[in-house]
């Protein structure tokens, strides 16, 4: 299955998909050293986002979150790519600085059609992007 969307930060990556149905606050919500979600109220609490194609609706919380994304990259525990329903400045700035491929406005709701654990390939070019997913039968 291929999902097309808008390309915001160019690049390509492959990896396991991790789906969060709720927004993520990187500041206070993700540990920059381990790449784990440390927000106890979050459905993905305890999960590592390192190397994953991380799918979530949008970013929230403090704008310092951009620095946390950059820090994750420096520590080698950043997501391989991010897919949002709609990206806002915290995520866009973090991904540009950390050079993490970023796609948003997918044609289908990725939170409904994708499942954690599926393998995917993402390609983001100027303006457009797609996520190709191997579906388990």
């Amino acid at each position: 299955m291929r999902i097309w969307g808008r390309g915001l930060v160019e690049g390509a990556a492959k990896g396991e998909i991790l789906v969060a149905s709720e927004p993520i606050s990187f500041y206070g919500g993700v540990d920059p050293r381990s790449g784990r979600i440390v927000d106890k109220k979050h459905a993905l609490y305890g999960k590592s986002i390192a190397g994953k194609i991380l799918v979530f609706p949008y970013g929230k919380g403090s704008t310092v979150g951009s620095y946390v994304i950059l820090s994750l990259a420096k520590n080698g525990v950043a997501p391989a790519a991010i897919v949002n329903i709609l990206s806002e400045p915290i995520i866009i700035i973090g991904c540009v600085l950390a050079e993490i491929p970023l796609m948003d406005k997918p044609e289908k709701n990725p939170i409904e059609v994708l499942q954690t654990g599926e393998k995917g390939v993402i390609v983001v070019e100027k303006g457009k992007a797609y996520l190709e997913v191997e579906k388990y039968v």
């Binding site: 500041y27 920059p32 704008t63 420096k74 400045p89």
Partner: protein, 390 residues
């Protein structure tokens, strides 16, 4: 997004790779938000400079920018840091924290930022009305748009920092006249007198932010005292804490807008904290103005030393202009700190467990940091200072 010839040249690296990267971030944000183009901004105010908030990630980012020979291209000021830069030892700040905080400030100075270290730049910076600016810090953004007729979005710390360097910001949101029109009306007719008598400016601000969410609120039938500068400062800070809106209109056409007419219970039930009086009194969120410090000094002159521990936060620029009043407050046992505030400093290291505040903004942020906060109106906080006989 449409770019000018100059912007294309910067992006292509004609003025260095580092500057190209800075502009690239701004352009990507603009594309994400579907801005048609960038606009020149004439002043920047950045938040996110306390080591407590930005940690090593922010420290490294700011140091790297400073070491790459980039400089701000417009007048630019900074929000409070994580400590008083002179009296940090008295605040219980550890050596390691202080060193890192000073490194952040050193890099910002090298980048050309003016070390205003206050969340109230609007009291000290002179900017012509109608200007496009790039401000972070929610209370300052609300004051800029609502009172000073400046044009800015809530840029956020990292973006405002980069915009200060390039002098450009994406043109969208509150920068466009069409998005500054009111989207709902809040009518205070039923509680106008109570607001004035009990000085509930921050409380109604918190309510306005909660109700407005993303829409521009037009407020009606408020007591005129709301517009006095110290009151409107508390009011707008509370709006910014509880909502995402960046502009409040104080007059305008109502037309067919959705309308709210709150009762006093609506106001109290929206507040993030309850009312009791155990703990340490903290004032200065936003930073106290010269006028507020004079007011407090007069109270201390009349009533003597407060019965509780009181800590106040203000801007370093006032250190000289109201030095007599500050000396009087210190003699009365009130702890006075500059450059920092209750939200970005570490209150635990200052021995504060239960903050008693007169700012709904402070109540909101300190609650979210896990403190058991009590919120008072400015009038009631004096009762807490001295007991019931005031």
């Amino acid at each position: 997004m449409e770019l000018t010839h100059e912007e294309e040249e910067i992006l292509n690296g004609r003025r260095g790779e580092k500057l190209a990267k800075v502009l690239e971030v701004i352009v990507k944000v603009g594309e994400g938000l579907e801005a048609e183009r960038l606009v020149n901004v004439t002043h920047a105010h950045i938040s996110g400079i306390s080591y407590k908030n930005i940690g090593d990630a922010g420290l490294e980012f700011i140091e790297k920018l400073a070491s790459s020979n980039l400089r701000v291209s417009i007048p630019a000021t900074v929000n409070p840091a994580g400590m008083d830069i002179k009296k940090w030892k008295e605040m219980g700040v550890k050596q390691d924290f202080a060193e890192k905080q000073l490194r952040i400030l050193g890099s910002l100075r090298k980048l050309g930022f003016k070390m205003l270290l206050t969340c109230t730049p609007y009291l000290y910076e002179k900017i012509p009305p109608g200007s496009q600016v790039a401000w972070a810090e929610s209370n300052a953004v609300l004051y800029a748009n609502s009172i000073l007729d400046l044009y800015t979005n809530r840029e956020g710390g990292p973006l405002a920092l980069l915009e200060a360097i390039v002098g450009k910001a994406p043109l969208y949101g509150y920068r466009l006249e069409e998005n500054r029109r009111p989207g709902l009306v809040i009518d205070f007719s039923d509680i106008k007198r109570t607001i004035k008598e009990r000085e509930l400016y921050q409380a109604i601000g918190y309510y306005v932010g909660t109700i407005a969410k993303f829409k521009v609120p037009l407020i009606k039938n408020y007591p005129p005292s709301l517009l006095q500068s110290d009151n409107v400062k508390l009011f707008l800070a509370a709006v910014g804490a509880s909502g995402s809106v960046a502009l409040v209109r104080f007059h305008g056409e109502e037309k067919n807008l959705e309308r709210y007419r709150p009762s006093i219970d609506d106001i109290y039930s929206a507040l993030p904290a309850d009312f009791s009086d155990e703990g340490t009194i903290l004032m200065g969120c936003p930073h106290l103005s010269a006028h507020e410090i004079q007011w407090l000094a007069n109270i201390v002159k009349r009533w003597g030393k407060p019965k509780r521990r009181v800590i106040i936060f203000t801007a370093r620029v006032l250190e000289n202009s109201v030095h007599k009043e500050i000396a009087a407050l210190s003699r009365a046992g009130i702890e006075v700190y500059f450059d920092t505030c209750m939200v970005v400093a570490d209150l635990k290291s200052m021995g504060v467990d239960k903050p008693l505040v007169d700012s709904a903004k402070a109540a909101y942020y300190l609650s979210s940091q896990g403190y058991d906060v009590r919120l008072f109106s400015r009038k009631d906080i004096l009762r807490v200072f001295y007991g019931d006989h005031v």
